[in-house]
Each structure stands twice: as structure tokens, then as C-alpha cells.
Symmetry: C2
């Protein structure tokens, strides 16, 4: 990037924006030493100018509510977008790109919804979009996918991509709290929003997974392509029973290339993993991404997936990558982004195969086990474990089976049939059991 | 990089070189799709041409023992160096750089010894040196340091950087094998060389740490600056006693910025860490690097630190980064490499502070505990745990203490005094106990 001083305009001055402003203010000398250039935050676009001026976070003279002062101003080289939301940010981004500004964004919703269009505009105007902060907060996992693992055909991603959900599950597992109790605690500790829907539904993780899987597999995947089951329907009893069988529960964002085919399986759901897996050790609000490459094998990236300074770290690292030219070269010359790739062939989730955990509530009457296992057997589902605690005849008891590798559609069909049996109460619970690749 | 076809020359066709050849042969289409360019392996320089031709690993027509066909040939754009060793490779690298070839190297010894000189030559000739494969095998930890974490002042690195040592320690811990038994097993399993000295002495990890810490702290550190204690002197008894106290043992490569000063503490040594730390979960031949940045906080990178395809993954990813221009831009425009930085201020290890584990062998006679604790007390060393198993009077017994934060020099002086006590047998064992940053 030419010139000794780089002009930056920022859209938004919320949590992440304040962190970015803090880094640029406090570490200016370090960044100048590393890049040989001074980086100047020249304008901050906000809705409420007076509030931002009074905040003390940035020089009041650079606060504006006039978007033109950022997206078309001659002295702005890079636009940092940390406002969030899809509209009207998408038009602002498009204008900025059309005016030759590089863009750094933390906005996963925007990329999941409008990524291909925006990437194409950037390419047409010889500028780049950097988006490390959109996935995994302070963990440089996008960079790993676009540079350090480039030599690999990526076969699978297994991610813990939502800190709120992981905090809730860690609490449920460790302290035997119910979902409602753990959520309330997470809200109190600042790890969950007042309206936690986007997080606990798995939608947030789904958007991040769409971005990461697009890069990993070189195909176009949107947030809507990712089937998401959240943690909000989880029953403490399943966590307790899974624990007895040697499993921890994690909300996993999974993208798998179906071996030897063009098909991709992609989804977010609570899964059981063996307690000694590294992903099982990721506790509290931390995130991690396991990547399985055909050459590097299993690599894992761990850190804080959200929070002011970790996310600001990703934003500013992207900015420095644009200043040095490395991020822009990767963007311009590598054909990874979904404006250049074809829509993915998403496998129907009923046709995916995995091991499963199946819990039924049943009246403890003679013959029920025979009926259940016969339904499973008829679908060709073979069992690896069966667990039923001692009970008194006539009581309702949990009956758990785990399966070997099985087609999900068959498990769902069997569960529906089982639900119709006289002694069975309610719908069986189905949870995927992950066998991590070697 | 200009042109639609990139010519590559490779020096060496050993384990890693064969892996690189395999990737370039099998994934040529994938790489062309990603970079828009064909990558052609045009020459391989070996000592024994006939053997290489007969190997079937590469087209016999491209095998040569004439170095000029690589380092000065017009049709070679990038030289991959996977031969290893310092001489005569350093002169070959210098010639190649002077002839305008970019260099990708996996050679940590070369960089630890001659890095600053070679980086300067590259810079003078407008080309770059990429060296992801020199540290951490398939784990893109160099890239994390030079791109994804750029916004951070890095405060500390804690690395498991040698798979041989980690395999040995995992075996000693899990199965109660002695060092000699575990080493023999590692050799049988292919995780240790016939001559394991470079690995088990900690020298290999020290060279990698010198490279990573130079980048992290922006100072010049050579392998010689890194004090190394290996796993070869470890006694199974200390592992067993540490286990009782809640610790796992790991050979840790540690670089710490001394808070608020210019001083750096850097060294490799077996350390105790709490069993629930993520680094404690890194088992067998795997490697991991924990990085503590002032903004990103704790991030960790995990994967296979050695092996044919993981290391080749790093080499070829670097190559693709040079082809796309991203690696070259980072090299040219970021001032990170030790040709541009000043020598580090290395703290005298006796002046570093940590908690320590101290084991003494003592005759179980009255008064010995009082004498030992009085020596420690006189040095201002306060204790956090004391462990002594039941014994019969007059027997030799292990007496273990762990300290709070203490200056190493004081611990060493106390240990020397303790060794002089009548009932004490031999020298006390001192092992650092790590309290990971929050």
C-alpha cells in the first residue's frame, strides 16, 4: 500500500470498534515499527454523534454521521466495518469498495448473506475484503485456511464456534445445571446476550461455518445451507447419561467432504465426543476449530471466539495485512472466495452417516426392549452400547442405545416408529456421536 | 508472481522432499485452481543422481547434481530447500537469492545459525524467504505470528515443539516406563532417530523457539541464546511424584517478555504444568504452541510437528503463498525478520522467577526437614506444598517441596547448600512449575 501514512475510516463504535480504536491509539508505534507506516484513524461513522463524542474513546473531531466522509473520502484508504447487520451496511460496503477502499469486516451475517456479491465488487475495483474477525474472534483461523493450510485438500472441519453455547454446555456438564440455569448464569457473567436466540439456536455458529467451509472446500455455502440445531432444546439428563458412556457434549459446527464425492455434509448440532478428544477440553467461552487436511492431518486452533480485544486483534491484524500487502495479495490472487466458486452440493442430512445416541422414555414393562431392538434391527441399525438403569416394574425409565455408523434417515424413521409403541413416552432424543478422523 | 507457470527447483529428496514431490504431482489441479497458475517441479538437486532416478519419486529427467541448474537457472522462480544442515546449504541459498529466486526452507538449523544474513540477502535482491516448515511441521504457527496475530504485543510463548520428546514423556507418564524404555519404544515406532541427541537434548526445540521468539518479540535471538535442558536426564520418580501433586510433565520451549522491561527469558526444559491445562493434553508425537498476546489473549496451535506430509504441507503452503504474492508481501513489507531487528536482551536464567519443584533424597533421620526448610527460609523461598511418603527410620526417602514464585538463582543456591547436609544423598532435582498466564 503506497504512502507512509494509511488513512482508516471506521463504521461503528460499539464493543469491537472501541477495542480497535484502543489498539490503534496505544500500539501505533509497534505497528509503525512492524509495517514501516503510520496508521491514522481519520473518521468514525456513528448514528449518535454526540454520544460517541462524549465517550472519550476517540478524538471527538473525527466522529461523524456523514457516510460520505468515509466511503468516498480521498484520505481514507481502508474502511473498517464493525457496525454489524446486513442492511444498510451492504450498500455502504459496496460504495466504499467502488471508491477503491479496502474493507476489513467482522460481520459474519453480512458475509453469509452477501459475501459473493461484495467479493466480486472488491475484485472489480482492485481492492480486497479481509474478514478474519468474522469467525473465531481472536483465533486466526481464516488466515490458516487462506494461507497456512493452502497445500491441503481439506476433508473436514469440526468447530466450537460459539462461546455462549460452549459456556452453557460447560456449566451444564460440570455443575449439573439445567439449560435455563446455565443460560441465566451466562447472561449474568456477560457471556450471553439478553436476547440469546442467535447464539443458542446455533445460527451464529452456522454463519461462521458457512464462511469457513466455503474457504476450506472451495465452494459457495451460505448460512441458509447450514442446518442448525441449537443448545436450547438440550436436556440435562442426556448430558448426564452421555457422561456415563464416556462422552462430553459440545455444540459442533461440522463440515465434511463426503469421501470420494462432490457432496458436502454441513450442519451445527449438539454432539457427543469422547472425553479425551482435544475439542472436549475446550471449556467455557473459548472456541476451537479442528481442521483435517489431507497432508497436514489434524490441526487445531484455539482461543477466545469473541470479546472486545480478541475480536479487535483480528480486525487490526487484517488491517496490518492490508497495509503490508499480504492480505490483499491473498485476496486478489487466490481463488478462494465464494464469488469465484460454485455452489456446494449439500448432502441431504437424512443421507448422512454417523453413530448416534438414542434415548427413549419407556414404561418398564416386559417386552419393550425386544420391540425397540427389533425396530432398529429392521432398519439395519446395529447397536454399540445399551444403557438402562435399574428401575421398578411399571416406572418410567430412560433406555439409551448408541449405534454404529448409520444413515440418519433410518435412525429418524426408527425413532418415529419407536415413538408409536405403547410403553414409550414422547419422542426419542437423537444426538450425533462423533468419531473424529484419525 | 508473473507468468502462468511457476518453475520450482528443489534441493534434497529425502523424507520431506519426497512429500513435496508427491503433493506437487497429485494436487497440481487443486493448486492451479487456487492460484490460477501451474506449478512445475523442474529440477531436483541431489548428491546421488542414480539413486534418486531409481526412486520413482520424480521424473528421472529432472534429477541433477549440478547446482547451477537450480540456483542460477532462468526457468526456476522458487527454490525449495529440504536438504538440511548449515553448510554448504547456506552458500547455495545465498546464490539462489542473489539470482532472484524466492526460497522456501524447512531448515531450522540454517535459520537459527544464518537467518539474519540470508534474510538481508533476500531483501537486497527483492525476493523472499518463507520458512513455515522450520517450526511445528504442519502447524501454521509461523504464519500466525507473521499475519494473524500481528496486532498483538506478544508477551509469552509456551511450546511443545519436539514430537520425539513429547512421545517419550507421554509414554513415561502414561505407562510408567523409564526414559530408556520410552526412548527405545519411540525409536521402534519411528518417532525418534537412531541418534536422538539433537531431539532429547532440547536443542531441536531451542532452534525452533529462537525462530518463533524472534518473530514474536521483534528481536534477534539465535539458537545459542536459548538455554536447553532435555528430557534425557529425567527420572521416572519425578514424573510419578509430580503426578501425585496434580502435574503433568512436558518439555516446554518458553519465551517470556519480562513485564515492563526490555528483558526476555528464553529456554527449553522439562516443566510441570497442571493436568487440566490444554498443553497437558497434547499427547504422543503431537506439537502445540500457546501464544499469549496482549489483545488476542491466549491462542493455541496444535498439530503434527514433524512427518513427511505435514512438513510438506507447510513447504507447499509457503510456495503457494509466494506464488500468490501474500508470503512475499509479508516478508518484504513487514519488519519482523532478524535482519531488521536488534539482538534480544536475554535475562540471566538465574534472575528469572518461577515456582519450582525440588526433590531431595534423604536419610529419614530426625531434624532433616528442619534443616532443609531453614535453608530455604534463609533464601526467602516460601513453600506451597510438601510431600514425603511414609518410611522407616533410617531409610532413604524422597522429600519434595514446591515453592511459590522464586528467583532461580536462589533455588539453585539453596539446593547446593541442601546437597551439603549430612543426611542428603546426591544433588536435589529442580523442575520448573508453570503457572500459565490467565
Amino acid at each position: 500500500m503506497a504512502g507512509d501514512v494509511i488513512g482508516v475510516g471506521m463504521i461503528g463504535l460499539g464493543t469491537v470498534g472501541s477495542g480497535v480504536a484502543e489498539l490503534l491509539r496505544d500500539q501505533g508505534d509497534l505497528y509503525a515499527q512492524r509495517t514501516g507506516k503510520r496508521i491514522e484513524l481519520r473518521r468514525v461513522l456513528v448514528r449518535d454523534v454526540e454520544k460517541a463524542k462524549a465517550s472519550g474513546l476517540v478524538d471527538p473531531a473525527i466522529v461523524t454521521d456523514d457516510q460520505e466522509q468515509i466511503i468516498s473520502a480521498k484520505d481514507i484508504d481502508v474502511v473498517i466495518e464493525v457496525a454489524g447487520g446486513v442492511e444498510p451496511i451492504d450498500s455502504l460496503m459496496q460504495f466504499a469498495l467502488e471508491h477503491g477502499k479496502h474493507v476489513v469486516t467482522a460481520n459474519k451475517s453480512l458475509l453469509a448473506a452477501k459475501g459473493p456479491e461484495l467479493f466480486a465488487v472488491a475484485r472489480d475495483h482492485g481492492v480486497s475484503i479481509a474478514f478474519e474477525a468474522s469467525c473465531g474472534g481472536g483465533i486466526p483461523c481464516v488466515t490458516a485456511m487462506t494461507t497456512g493450510l493452502m497445500a491441503n485438500r481439506i476433508d473436514a472441519l469440526f468447530g466450537i464456534l460459539n462461546g455462549t453455547c460452549n459456556y452453557i454446555l460447560t456449566e451444564m456438564t460440570g455443575s449439573g445445571k439445567t439449560y435455563a440455569q446455565a443460560l441465566a448464569e451466562a447472561q449474568e457473567a456477560g457471556f450471553a446476550e439478553a436476547d440469546p436466540a442467535l447464539d443458542v439456536s446455533g445460527q451464529d455458529a452456522a454463519q461462521k461455518l458457512a464462511i469457513l467451509a466455503s474457504l476450506a472446500f472451495g465452494v459457495r455455502i451460505t448460512g441458509d445451507d447450514v442446518h442448525a440445531i441449537g443448545v436450547d432444546g438440550l436436556d440435562l439428563e442426556d448430558i448426564t447419561l452421555g457422561d456415563e458412556m464416556g462422552y462430553d457434549i459440545k455444540l459442533l459446527a461440522i463440515a465434511e467432504r463426503w469421501p470420494g464425492s462432490k457432496w458436502v455434509n454441513i450442519g451445527v448440532q449438539p454432539c457427543f465426543i469422547k472425553k479425551d478428544e482435544l475439542l472436549a477440553q475446550v471449556a467455557g467461552p473459548y472456541n476451537a476449530l479442528s481442521v483435517h487436511g489431507h497432508a497436514a492431518g489434524h490441526t487445531l486452533y484455539y482461543g477466545q471466539g469473541a470479546g472486545q480485544l480478541p475480536t479487535a486483534s483480528a480486525v487490526v491484524s487484517d488491517l496490518l495485512g492490508i497495509v503490508s500487502g499480504s492480505a490483499s495479495a491473498a485476496f486478489s490472487n487466490m481463488r478462494l472466495t465464494p464469488d469465484l466458486t460454485q455452489p456446494a452440493h449439500i448432502l441431504d442430512r437424512r443421507d448422512t452417516e454417523s453413530a448416534y445416541y438414542l434415548r427413549m422414555q419407556t414404561l418398564d414393562v416386559p417386552g419393550v426392549m425386544a420391540e425397540v431392538t427389533s425396530i432398529l434391527g429392521d432398519k439395519g441399525i446395529s447397536l454399540s452400547q445399551v444403557l438402562q438403569h435399574e428401575s421398578k416394574a411399571g416406572e418410567v425409565v430412560s433406555l439409551v442405545v448408541t449405534t454404529h455408523l448409520t444413515r440418519l434417515g433410518d435412525v429418524e424413521d426408527a425413532a418415529e416408529e419407536i415413538a408409536g409403541l405403547e410403553p414409550i413416552q414422547g419422542e426419542p432424543v437423537i444426538i450425533r456421536v462423533i468419531e473424529m478422523p484419525a
